[in-house]
């Protein structure tokens, strides 16, 4: 269980997160959504140990502040929003970097399987720098999956922290990635994802945390959080849920794509 209690974060004198509290359960996909600048990524960064914070964050009962890097790496893997790679590694080598710590040891099968999960198995020997942004993002996800291949190898659930994992992907791969997250949660692991895309969030999330201006505005099941009123307040924009367009403009929902595959 990820328990965030009274989290306050300051960047210089700016009070960026104000008394944020949330709970994410294992076996569920928890999505943090909100407009730009609402503090979603900052909350995630606090939970992954990147920034200093006041308040309490515990993961599987361990206080984050007392976990060493390697101890945390065994419990959770983090997919950042954007990645740089300093040297000309190949795709398989990047995935193997994820293998180096975490519990998997140096087993190449795990690396190959992780690549297969993100539909990049045939890319193993290509140079990372030659790939498109979306492909690179999927390689990073493979790296993350190589670090934590099993959602629940023992009594402790493992966690995936994903920062806008589908931002640069096409719709097919967006569904693929979200399905990976869903499967991970179904296997007993915990998933916390910062999302921009409300449709995908509605499809895959078990719990939605809606943030605005550094505070949690709403927290609960999708149908409870995604109401016209709540969303409009958060995004400061007149929004209507579950409402098809009034004219004959074409529209495409990811929900539909999934239905076709099934």
């Amino acid at each position: 269980m990820l328990l965030i209690d009274d989290l306050n974060v300051y960047f210089g004198s700016a009070h960026v997160l104000k008394d944020v509290s949330l709970t994410a359960m294992p076996g569920a996909v928890t999505c943090i959504v909100g407009p730009n600048g609402s503090g979603k990524t900052t909350t995630l960064r606090a939970a992954t140990g990147d920034i200093a914070y006041e308040g309490s964050i515990t993961l599987n009962g361990h206080s984050l502040k007392r976990l060493e890097n390697w101890e945390a790496a065994r419990l959770r893997a983090v997919l950042p929003q954007a990645s740089t790679l300093a040297f000309p590694f190949t795709v398989i080598e990047v995935v193997r970097i994820g293998l180096q710590t975490g519990e998997a040891g140096d087993q190449d099968n795990i690396a190959i399987e992780a690549l297969a999960k993100v539909d990049l198995a045939t890319y193993a020997n290509r140079s990372y720098h030659e790939l498109s942004g979306g492909e690179q993002q999927r390689v990073q996800l493979a790296r993350v999956l190589a670090q934590i291949p099993d959602a629940k190898p023992d009594d402790d659930p493992r966690w995936l922290f994903l920062d806008e994992p589908v931002a640069s992907l096409d719709i097919a791969h967006q569904l693929e990635v979200m399905t990976i997250a869903r499967n991970f949660a179904d296997a007993g692991g915990g998933v916390v994802a910062v999302m921009h895309d409300l449709n995908l969030t509605a499809m895959f999330a078990d719990q939605i945390v809606l943030m605005s201006e550094g505070k949690v505005l709403a927290d609960g099941r999708p149908d409870a959080v995604m109401t016209d009123d709540t969303l409009s307040r958060a995004y400061r924009c007149d929004l209507r849920v579950s409402c098809p367009p009034s004219d004959n403009q074409p529209f495409l929902l990811p929900h539909a794509a999934r239905a076709a595959a099934e």
Partner: protein, 356 residues
């Protein structure tokens, strides 16, 4: 690359295995160059002459003993140790700063060591006579080593706040420090007389000709330990290629790693520069060549760098000893003449593949 039809997977090419096989190849190369180094010299004496003499039951010539044991052998060891130190330090610094153009001096070691040497050469005569006697010929190396440490520690302090070292700050502060060291050196050079200036010039050009057993006994173990410690940084440096935040996420103790990297490089490079002056290019060219040939995985790269750096330095030393015999060309000239074109060739050939 092969796609196995039933699983649709490819067999990943293992650059790491290839790189590990290179350990053997490079080791053999080093052995070969070491033998060459022992065999070649202005006097024409070879170890085989001595071996045959011993086999025939004769006592070897005195001069042969001196040449082989007091000149060539310490020089061989020094060459291996200095070459390995420079190449590994270069690779570690490139990994730490995530930039293939970093060289070992980037943490201030070279600037400080240079300043120490200049100070010792120009001001050494002003030391109280007793002190000068104690240090004697070792005044310059000791001052250079000391200078290298002082400047590294200074840079580290400037760049580290709240227990976190910012490599970007270190880089910029290093530029400032190098400028300052250059200014102070300039002052000392201005005050130097003709003889001191020549000594400075020769120091700057680098040489392992002054390799004595005393120097080898002190610098050798120090560099060997530092280089071995550096090898343990390999996984950390791989992770660091993803960025510091990602490296921390996969469990690497980033700050500890930085500390250890800076420490080992300061020790290895400081000692190397102290005993051999300013030898350039090995630190940049060797890791580069290896990355292109065998991939950037540091687990193999660091070891291969040590082996190849040692070999190339020895090779440069052989050339410096024979090319204008009986005089000797400073080794820094040879490494520059060989290194610069190779460096250019690398850059031109691989512009796309290197990610910049």
């Amino acid at each position: 690359m092969v796609a196995i039809p039933d699983t649709g997977r490819a067999v990943p090419l293992d650059r790491l295995a290839f790189a590990r096989r290179m350990h053997v190849v490079l080791f053999l190369f080093l052995v070969f160059v070491s033998l060459l180094s022992l065999t070649v010299g202005a006097t024409g004496i070879t170890p085989w002459d001595m071996a045959f003499a011993l086999l025939r039951g004769e006592a070897p010539e005195a001069m042969a003993s001196v040449v082989l044991f007091d000149i060539r052998l310490p020089r061989l060891i020094m060459g291996i140790v200095v070459g390995a130190a420079l190449a590994v330090s270069g690779a570690v610094m490139q990994g730490l700063f995530r930039n293939p153009l970093a060289d070992p001096g980037i943490i201030g070691v070279s600037a400080g060591a240079g300043l120490g040497a200049v100070a010792a050469i120009v001001l050494g005569a002003m030391l109280p006579f007793g002190l000068f006697d104690i240090f004697g010929a070792y005044l310059v190396p000791i001052a250079a080593f000391f200078g290298g440490w002082v400047s590294t520690i200074l840079l580290y302090r400037v760049a580290t706040r709240g227990g976190v070292t910012s490599v970007a700050t270190m880089l910029l502060a290093g530029i400032a420090l190098a400028a300052l060291a250059g200014a102070v050196s300039g002052l000392l050079i201005y005050a130097a007389d003709d003889r001191q200036l020549r000594d400075l010039t020769f120091w700057g050009l680098g040489s392992i000709a002054g390799a004595s057993w005393a120097k080898v006994m002190v610098a050798g173990p120090l560099i060997a330990i530092a280089v071995l410690l550096a090898f343990a940084l390999a996984r950390g440096l791989n992770g660091l290629a993803l960025g510091e935040a990602a490296a921390a996420h996969i469990g690497i103790p980033v700050q500890k790693m930085k500390n250890r990297a800076i420490l080992t490089v300061a020790a290895a490079t400081g000692a190397a520069v102290a005993v051999s002056g300013g030898i350039g290019f090995i630190g940049i060219v060797v890791p580069h060549l290896l990355r292109i040939a065998t991939g950037p995985d540091h687990r193999a790269l660091l070891i291969n760098s040590a082996l190849l750096g040692a070999s190339l330095l020895l090779l440069a030393d052989v050339i410096s000893r024979v090319i204008i015999a009986p005089a000797e060309m400073p080794i820094g000239i040879v490494t520059a003449v060989l290194g610069a074109p190779v460096f250019l060739w690398i850059l031109l050939r691989n512009r796309g593949a290197m990610g910049f």
